[in-house]
């Protein structure tokens, strides 16, 4: 089931990947798993969305954190 916070993520330019159960934004270089979104409040989500990612690397919000191999596979799939 998709997150009830879907409109917040859509408004911030995030697309949803049904198979990976995650939202992602290529220009922001961030991805949020549905589980992470559901486990955090609107306020916490908005705070993370508003942070600028200057690291040059993708930030993946998921609990538990996926392994580096899984992250690579995920990013390859979404064209990250």
């Amino acid at each position: 089931m998709k997150a009830a916070k879907d409109p917040i993520l859509r408004a911030a330019g995030y697309a949803y990947n049904f198979d990976r159960l995650a939202y992602y934004n290529r220009s922001a270089k961030k991805a949020f798993s549905v589980e992470w979104v559901e486990d955090h409040t609107d306020k916490e989500l908005r705070e993370e969305l508003s942070k600028t990612n200057n690291s040059g690397e993708w930030l993946v919000y998921a609990e538990p954190q996926p392994s580096e191999r899984v992250k690579r596979e995920f990013l390859a799939e979404i064209g990250g």
């Binding site: 949803y16 990976r20 159960l21 995650a22 899984v70």
Partner: protein, 218 residues
Amino acid sequence: MANSRSVEDLLRAEYFRLLPDARRALLETETRVRSALLDTSLALQPFERLVVTARIKECENAINSLRRRQPLGLFDSDQAAEYSLSALRDLAAVRVMAFPKRRVDETHGILQSILAGWTSDPIPAVEESGVPLAYKYFGKWNSDAPITAEVQIVGLLIGLFWEVEHSAIYKPNPSLQGVRTDVVIQSRDDVLTALQRFEAEFANAMMASPRREETILR
């Protein structure tokens, strides 16, 4: 020599090792449920329905189900030995579909007594404040059994809709790639809400006029 088989291949082999236990769990669950509901089944009005279905999840569906539970919906091939289909709660599952709503509630009450030691995990309504779409329980009849079984109790209309919708939307099918659009998902949610509203309104009408049940159906 390191095991070079993929996570999926290891799980396929495990599936067929677990299958006899899954069949036993399903037989016991279905038999207990049907037995508990016998009196209700025999007392149904002509327009009422009580349908019990039982299934073991097919191999590829079981693997995909386990995959969806992993972070980002992916297996980590470095951790292949960590995955087991015995972690699934619905490898063996019984679904009870009833109509009208009072039969759902009655069925739920009866089955609660035999599922007292199981874990309740209701399927929430589309609208957050709504009543659950379905009641769901998972557990084991014997603590040392390798398979967890599931019992689901749902209104007949939603249950029948799920039988079509799940195979079209959730189960990977190359010919259906791209159909899981937001519009389709939203339509699915609209249908579930409408079916639930119909069942509630039908129940209200029956309460208001219990002798006009057959008229309401015309």
